[in-house]
Symmetry: C2
């Protein structure tokens, strides 16, 4: 009993309701085994119920995947918003954005974020569209900061390409970053930031 009973325990961006625990368990299984290799019996066993009982919470298995993705996008969009709130300097905004995204990918929501990247095509086309709309909001926060940085003369490269290179660097970090290693998230943040607004040659 390490948590105060009056506070919610947030794991993978989900609360501790039956639904939240189910989604958190599903997120971990989806990441470890992939969506297709994870059976509804696996998920049920993980939360201690029968497989059929899952369908009182979600109409289909795919809806569980969709719910995981929606929750984690919403949670991390809020994290992004909070990170830049009150910061006027675009370079400081960018640092905050990189740090927040790394926190998403290799920190507390890492399991669900991995699912977001790797299990995208397991969604129905309709759910893909809905997810895209949510991601567009997230991406707009990035683009606003990068465009501001350009207007301030501190970014020479194209903002879209810059964002894509950052996405590559941050998302790939889930495959190698060791939370128990000597490199901290703050250090990695500065290294990546330096690749973006360091002094580059022509």
């Amino acid at each position: 009993m390490v948590q105060a009973s009056t506070r919610q325990q947030i794991v993978n961006g989900m609360d501790d309701s039956p639904r939240g625990k189910l989604l958190s368990a599903a997120a971990r299984l989806f990441r470890d085994q992939g969506f297709d290799r994870t059976t509804v019996r696996d998920i049920a066993r993980e939360v201690g119920i029968q497989s059929g009982s899952l369908f009182h919470h979600f109409p289909t298995k795919e809806d569980i995947l969709f719910a995981v993705m929606v929750e984690v996008i919403r949670f991390n969009t809020e994290r992004l918003r909070a990170a830049i709130a009150g910061k006027a300097d675009p370079a400081e905004q960018l640092r905050a954005l990189i740090r927040a995204e790394l926190q998403s990918i290799i920190g507390d929501t890492r399991e669900a974020m991995s699912v977001l990247v790797y299990e995208w095509r397991c969604l129905t086309p309709g759910h893909q569209q809905e997810t895209l709309a949510l991601r567009a909001i997230y991406e707009q926060l990035w683009m606003d900061a990068l465009e501001a940085l350009r207007r301030a003369g501190r970014l020479q490269a194209d903002a879209f390409i810059t964002r894509r290179l950052i996405t590559g660097m941050t998302s790939w970090s889930s495959n190698w970053f060791d939370a128990h290693g000597s490199l901290t998230i703050d250090q990695l943040t500065d290294i990546i930031l330096d690749r973006v607004i360091g002094e580059h040659g022509a």
Copy 2:
């Protein structure tokens, strides 16, 4: 008829033998639908045979995936070797490596490369080990060049971290690079190169 009939047509790094065509078709299906969602009947239909006949070429479906990965790693390791052959300047070597890797990821072997990244965990543990051994050879070519760059005083950052950031930028490009767009592979190569050996602040 753009290919001379006496020359092999290389697609996804595979030749035009029955086995090669089977692997190439499998690579495309695996990328489009994922390994698990692709049935042996899908693959068989694609090459125009019965599903059972696949098992005269490969003992299991997973062996097809493994063969795809082995072929594409071998092919692209050779491409990397050829790219740096005869180049003495480590910066030019690095440019050649980045260009070759982009060619793998968004060029002629893009389907099989995507499979390599996304379907990794569908391999048996034994096959994962074998694949890792092959990738280690590929990565060593990168590390040799980056360490040479460091010794030449043209790379301040840690070589391992640098390689990982490059891997992120190149591998993510498969998700956005448009072969028919205005940005060329050579231009992207220079942009990425600049993130690595541009003049960075402390």
